[in-house]
């Protein structure tokens, strides 16, 4: 694993090359040393042979000298002395040769010195012997002594020479042994190092190859990525740009040109060229912001307009952020988006909003007309009618009384409609704030609203205790009194109305009707009555505006009351549901977010 890790690392190749270089240098040095050693030993061998040969030569010269002398002794002819003199000269030459050959070997030098003395002795002995021959032939005894001395010296020389030759041979043998010891493993060692180096180089080669493959793959991916970026820029109507701050050079993406209504790379990538398209009114602002960008190395969201060749105006939005690239240079990467569609859409929305606001104002004005101006004449009609009924009723004929009664009923219904409509439009107000309120008090006030009916119908209301809730108080009161009024109106004919109001704190998940609810915790308020009820299939319909389940001859009503309830729970981002069956009473469940 450790090796794999090293192999994968980026410095592996570098290390392998450095190591290989050193190994090759090492191998070269070792080889050089080895070859030098071989040639050295060769020259040593040669030297040893030369030394031996020279030593042999010395012996042979001495022998020549001896032979010449002996000839002289016998013949007394000095002609035989010629080889003796020649030998002497030759011995000197050889000696000099030997001296230089053995200068590295102190033992042999010492031997050579001793040999020299012996040779000098021998030669002296020759001369002495020769003198004896020339001067005095009588003293044979002394001559014999000298001659014997000569033989002894000669034997000593022979012995010395032999010992020197054998010494030289021995040293040669030793050298060869030492050299062989030293060089026995060198070739294998060198070979294995070279194999190892080759292996390392092979690994490096494989690594480089795989790196190259990876690089190729990455390049391919980059190419694909670049292309998909291009496409995404076209689809999303944005372009990107890069600003190398140190070099002060810009690069624009292809689509940035298209955002200006130009073909890609149709002009040089410089801010001056870009600015030619910027709307004159925005140029100052943009230049200032780009200046600022130079200092801050960041660009906040900026908006400006550009003008295309076809004179159409486009809205652009740009954003930039600086990064430091791998070479340590600061680059500002930016994105520019065409938000013309967005702006158009916003403008349209703005226009719609204005229209809506105007509509709302008109509606509010209408509300006022309905609440005040319409009510006033109606109230007067009713008041005059009541005066008429009070004071003049005795003067009416039967049909006159009936007509007045009908006028009265119609006016009452009109009042009901106006009041309810007014209530409904008042609950439209969405800017009411939620106030932490005591729901128990609100319920009491709602009961007050319908107190007259409660008394008349002999109804009993059992309410649970409620915690504080965040509500719009007057709307909740309206909601409660509408529900109470509803239960009282649709009472069962054979029993006194009973209304039970219960409370529960619930989680969103505990009731599947809250599946689409936004909040997690809800107040659940349940109004349960023992009235005539209705078919479950109408449970939703009863909350729609002007929907009625009964003829207005049977039950008076405008079909607005429960719509108001729905609207109020909507205003509180709550819910209201109805459950019922004919003659089984009705259950209204309200959920208000906590």
């Amino acid at each position: 694993m450790a090796f794999v890790k090293i192999y994968k690392s980026s410095w592996f190749v570098k290390v392998v090359f450095v190591v290989s270089l050193f190994l090759i240098l090492f191998v070269a040095g070792l080889g050089y040393k080895h070859i030098t050693e071989v040639s050295e030993s060769q020259s040593l061998v040669l030297e040893t042979y030369e030394v031996s040969v020279e030593l042999e030569k010395i012996l042979s010269y001495l022998k020549d000298a001896e032979t010449g002398q002996r000839g002289f002794f016998i013949t007394q002819d000095s002609i035989y002395l010629q080889p003796f003199f020649k030998s002497r000269r030759k011995i000197n030459n050889t000696f000099a040769e030997l001296k230089s050959l053995t200068k590295a070997n102190p033992t042999q030098q010492e031997n050579l010195k001793q040999l020299n003395i012996l040779i000098e002795d021998r030669l002296e002995n020759f001369e002495i012997a020769s003198k004896y021959v020339l001067k005095d032939q009588t003293d044979l005894q002394r001559f014999k002594n000298v001659f014997f001395d000569g033989k002894q010296i000669m034997d000593a020389i022979r012995e010395k020479l032999n010992s020197m030759i054998s010494l030289e041979k021995e040293s040669l043998k030793k050298r060869e042994e030492a050299y062989q010891n030293a060089t026995r493993f060198t070739p294998i060692f060198l070979f294995s190092i070279i194999i190892f180096t080759l292996l390392l180089l092979y690994l490096a080669y494989v690594k480089i190859n795989s790196n190259l493959d990876q690089l190729k793959q990455k390049n391919q991916q980059l190419l694909v990525f670049k292309e998909s970026t291009n496409q995404s820029e076209i689809i999303n109507k944005h372009g990107s740009w890069r600003w190398d701050i140190e070099a002060d050079t810009f690069h624009f993406s292809e689509n940035l040109f298209r955002l200006l209504g130009e073909k890609p790379n149709s002009f040089e990538h410089t801010p001056e060229n870009f600015n030619r398209f910027v709307h004159p009114d925005d140029l100052d602002k943009l230049s200032k912001q780009v200046e600022q960008m130079r200092e801050d190395k960041d660009l906040p969201f900026i908006h400006y307009r550009v003008i295309h060749k076809d004179a159409s105006i486009h809205y652009l939005k740009a954003y930039g952020k600086s990064i430091v690239n791998s070479e340590g240079k600061t680059q500002l990467l930016g994105t520019t988006t065409d938000i013309t569609d967005e702006i158009d859409y916003l403008n349209k929305l703005e226009l719609r909003n204005q229209e809506l606001e105007l509509n709302n104002k008109e509606l509010a004005a209408f509300n006022y007309v309905a609440s005040h101006d319409l009510q006033e004449p109606l109230r007067k009609i009713q008041t005059f009618l009541s005066r008429l009924e009070d004071k003049e009723a005795i003067n009416f004929s039967d049909s006159g009384k009936k007509y007045v009664e009908r006028i009265h009923a119609a006016a009452t219904r009109m009042r009901l409609l106006i009041d309810d409509l007014l209530q409904y439009s008042r609950t439209n107000k969405s800017d009411e704030v939620l106030i932490k309120s005591n729901i128990n008090t609100i319920l009491e006030e709602a009961k007050q609203d319908v107190a007259e009916t409660i008394l008349k119908e002999n109804a009993s209301i059992n309410a649970a205790h409620f915690p504080e809730m965040k509500v719009i108080p007057f709307q909740i009161q309206q909601l409660f009194s509408n529900l109470l009024g509803n239960s009282l109106k649709y009472r069962s004919k054979d029993k006194d109305p009973v209304i039970d109001i219960a409370y529960e704190s619930v989680y969103k998940k505990s009731d599947q009707r809250l599946l689409n609810a936004l909040d997690e915790n809800y107040h659940k308020i349940i109004f349960k009555d023992n009235g005539i009820g209705f078919k479950q299939e109408y449970a939703k319909k009863i909350f729609t505006l002007f929907s009625r389940l009964h003829n207005k001859d049977e039950y008076s009503g405008t079909g607005i009351g429960l719509s108001i309830c729905k609207k109020i729970t909507d205003n509180h981002t709550g819910f209201i549901f109805a459950e019922s069956a004919p003659t089984k009473g009705a259950i209204f469940t309200i959920f208000l977010p906590k």
Binding site: H372, R379, K380, Q382, S386, D390
Partner: protein, 148 residues
């Protein structure tokens, strides 16, 4: 002010309403003296006279030309001369906004004009017979709007 009559003033620009109001008190046969004024300017002109008889109860319509009921209310409440004056708002609309505003400005009761003459009589008699000295102490928002 030392007589036994209850002095009542109504400021309302609507002729019919003034008529109903006067008729109602006539029929109620209570010891009342009713004066009516056609708008806020006439009313304040009268009240600001030095020798004006300050009424016990002022019925104030809100929606009047020239000077509205709310403006009159503020003026009256800012004048110490009228500190004992009971002010009953007497209006066609009973919008939350109007009720809230007039309550905050210090009106004593808010009456929504009824559409039945009998009811009107009932309301007016109830307002006149209320012991305002006592009632003012217990003034609160929940019984500000008159319910009968």
């Amino acid at each position: 002010m030392n007589d036994n009559y209850t002095h009542i003033i109504l400021a309302d620009d609507d002729e019919d309403d003034r008529l109903f109001f006067e008729d109602a008190f006539e029929e109620l046969k209570m010891a009342t003296k009713v004066n009516t004024y056609n708008d806020g300017v006439y009313l304040m002109d009268y009240l600001n006279k030095k020798d004006a008889i300050i009424p016990h109860i002022l019925f104030l319509d809100l929606n009047m030309p020239r000077k509205s009921g709310k403006e009159c209310l503020i003026e009256i409440k800012n004048n110490d001369r009228f500190k004992d004056l009971v002010i009953a708002i007497y209006s066609t609309s009973a919008s939350e906004e109007d009720i809230e505003d007039t309550f905050v400005q210090g009106a004593n009761i808010y009456i929504k004009k009824p559409s039945d003459f009998k009811k009107l009589k009932k309301i007016l008699s109830s307002v006149v017979t209320t012991n305002w000295q006592y009632h003012t102490n217990g003034l609160n928002r929940s019984n500000f709007l008159l319910r009968l």
